[in-house]
């Protein structure tokens, strides 16, 4: 028995099933243990992020080669995205499920990119937004709400039979999004004064707290159904068209449920890219970038940094929440274990690998990491190792990300010119302190 197993045995042994005064000590210890493990992992990632900046200085010339954009034309990309699932259907539909899941990663990565890439707030709790969106949708679109209402106010609410509340996705998607955005503001407020590593650790904690809450909010009032999760969640529907109905067909061709979800998420991605790209090149996006560059100078330049940081959390949260709602509908079941800290780290890696501050980078990073990660699920924990190796290779060989924003590309590739042709020593020194 190695040390790790011993610790786990300890955690699950004497304290595991020994709740005292409503507080489960086992759960608290496991939480503490996870924070230590993932906190270490997160700090490792951050060190690597720093390191990639440092590495790039001596190799500035090599990195400086112009990055061509192989998928530069959005229309080509969109056409491929529209046709792709039709081709995949011919292979039996498994890859459709895979592609749909990768799409959700893309949506998450673009959302997180607002917070991390543009505004420079290192958020390791992004999974919380995904969870809030999923639970808001799940609770409203399953028997859960009806059952809880009956159990709590049984003299007022009759026992409900079928799935509880039925509301069109046209309402539920924005509701889930806004709930997550509001949640973003709520957890944003106490973290406003924190920066860098400290912010990362606190957001990491909030992400875990969210999951633990979901796990324990089954009493006194059963809101989330605790560790069992919310089941029998409705499929998305619009008008009389249900996404989960396997009898849907166009002419002789039947439409599998995941095709509906695939196109729904594709639509959400298009809307998200549209919104984020416009924000990025506006007064708001400029203020976000200024905060990333120098928060003090931004405040003195007249930017209401508090509100703009909260706005970044809310915007990132909105898209994460919508992704969560789709996830809940598509899988019909959500449980706290769907919202592990590892998902936050995974999405952060997508943003970093793709290239921070660039929408296409975040999307590409989501595919480059999400796809192999999803496909290798049978390898279990071994895939985390492989994934780590890929990450290290990536940082060594292509520190600026796959598709860096033009700005960051210049940032990492140009030799600093002070007009005399000599490298600007101060600027290089600055970078090394990052």
């Amino acid at each position: 028995m190695n040390a790790l197993q011993a610790l786990e045995a300890l955690l699950h042994g004497p304290f595991g099933d020994f709740p005292v005064g409503g507080l489960n000590f086992g759960a608290v210890l496991v939480l503490a243990w996870q924070i230590v493990v993932f906190g270490g992992l997160a700090l490792g990632i951050r060190t690597l992020v720093r390191r990639r900046i440092r590495i790039s200085i001596p190799h500035a010339q090599a990195v400086g080669r112009a990055v061509r954009r192989p998928l530069g034309d959005v229309r080509v990309l969109l056409a491929v995205a529209v046709v792709l699932p039709l081709a995949e259907m011919l292979t039996g539909g498994y890859y459709l499920t895979v592609t749909y899941n990768v799409e959700l990663y893309v949506l998450l990565a673009i959302g997180l990119n607002i917070v991390v890439g543009y505004t420079g707030l290192l958020d390791l709790g992004y999974v919380a937004f995904f969870a809030v969106g999923a639970y808001v949708y799940g609770i409203f679109a399953s028997p859960q709400l009806g059952q809880t209402a009956h159990a709590t106010f049984h003299f007022l609410v009759p026992a409900s039979q079928g799935p509880g509340v039925h509301i069109s996705m046209l309402v539920m998607l924005p509701v889930a999004g806004f709930a997550a955005a509001l949640f973003g503001v709520l957890i944003g407020i106490p973290t406003l004064r924190l920066r860098g590593d400290y912010l990362a650790i606190v957001t990491l904690g909030f992400g875990e707290i969210t999951r633990i809450f979901a796990q324990n909010l089954d009493s006194p009032v059963n809101i989330t159904n605790g560790p069992n999760g919310v089941t029998r969640i409705d499929d998305m529907f619009i008008g009389g068209y249900s996404f989960g109905d396997i009898t849907n067909h166009i002419g002789p061709v039947s439409i599998p449920p995941f095709l509906n979800y695939y196109y729904l998420v594709l639509l959400l991605i298009v809307v998200t890219v549209f919104v984020v790209a416009r924000l990025a090149t506006s007064r708001v996006g400029r203020a976000w970038t200024a905060i990333r560059e120098d928060e003090v100078a931004a405040e003195v330049a007249g930017i209401h940094t508090r509100n703009l940081k909260l706005l970044a959390y809310a915007s990132g949260g909105f898209f994460g929440g919508m992704a969560g709602a789709v996830f809940a509908a598509g899988s019909h079941v959500i449980a706290p274990e769907s919202f592990q800290l590892f998902l936050s780290i995974l999405v952060l890696c997508m943003v970093v690998v793709g290239g921070m501050g660039s929408i296409e980078g975040a999307a590409l990073g989501a595919v480059a990491i999400g796809l192999p990660y999803f496909l290798s699920s049978q390898l279990q924990s071994l895939r985390v190792l492989i994934f780590g190796v890929i990450l290290v290779l990536m940082i060594a060989l292509r520190p600026q990300g796959l598709l860096p924003s033009r700005q960051r590309q210049r940032e990492l590739s140009e030799t600093v010119d002070d007009g005399t042709g000599a490298p600007h020593v101060e600027a290089v020194a600055d970078l090394q302190q990052v």
């Binding site: 924000l279 506006s282 708001v284 405040e299 940094t305 007009g419």
Partner: protein, 253 residues
């Protein structure tokens, strides 16, 4: 009534009194300078004017209204802009974007307006870019508007910081050692630029170590030593003040 009035302004960091009972008036349309040896409390005074520090006691009155209790960005929208002793540009943004950020508090496009690109937002953005280019032109950086701030030479970075401050349409401009690290030629140009800004109707409050610059352009000079004001007056008076000479050169000189 002076544009900016500091009365009995005091800031203590624990036991260290950085600024002690400072009384000073900055008259509208003038260039007022604050000088003194290193560590005399000049930048601390600036930080209190921009609400970056809360004074331990005393008050800062701008246009007849107190600054205390405001946030730094509120102070900027009230009409006080500043530059920093150690340049604080947005290093990885273009020169133009730096100036546009300075204009942020004079723009009104909302979040949704930015997403929807309303006609108002488009007009405002286009106008802001025009104005920002004007400010860049005024400091001689129009040619390099698309260069990243960090790639500009040192002197240009100092001038870009001034352009960013001007973009917020201040009535009072605080310059913290704008000539530090610049060469003789640049100092001459800087003095000219500061005069032009003053002539454009913006009151200047200046911290500077370079005596040529200070003596050449100031209407009034106040001297700080160990947080206390030891002299105040026209450049000629201050230059001959015995306490000022002692503060700078030591008693035996």
């Amino acid at each position: 009534m002076a544009l900016l009035q500091l009365s009995q302004l005091t800031k203590a960091f624990g036991g260290l009194v950085a600024v002690k009972e400072l009384d000073l008036e900055v008259e509208e349309g003038q260039i007022t300078s604050l000088i003194g040896p290193n560590g005399a409390g000049k930048t601390t005074a600036f930080n209190m004017v921009t609400a970056f520090y809360a004074p331990t006691s005393g008050s800062v009155i701008f246009e007849g209204k107190p600054v205390s209790g405001l946030k730094p960005h509120d102070v900027t929208s009230r009409g006080i802009a500043r530059t920093f002793q150690n340049i604080r540009l947005f290093a990885n943004m273009s020169a133009l974007d730096n100036v546009l950020v300075g204009r942020h508090c004079r723009m009104h496009a909302t979040y949704w307006g930015s997403v929807l690109r309303t006609p108002f937002e488009r007009r405002e953005e286009a106008a802001a870019i025009e104005i920002a280019r004007g400010h860049l032109d005024a400091v001689g950086l129009l040619q390099r508007q698309y260069d990243l701030a960090r790639n500009l030479p040192y002197g240009s970075q100092r001038r870009l910081e001034i352009a960013r401050a001007l973009a917020s349409e201040p009535r009072l401009l605080l310059l913290d050692e704008p000539a530090a690290g610049t060469n003789t030629q640049e100092k001459v140009e800087l003095a000219k630029l500061i005069r032009e800004i003053r002539d454009g109707g913006i009151t200047i409050f200046l911290i500077e170590h370079d005596m040529k610059v200070v003596m050449g352009i100031s209407d009034k000079i106040a001297v700080l030593d160990y947080g206390e004001k030891i002299a105040e007056g026209a450049p000629q008076e201050v230059r001959q003040d015995q306490r000022v000479i002692e503060a700078y050169l030591g008693k035996s000189a």
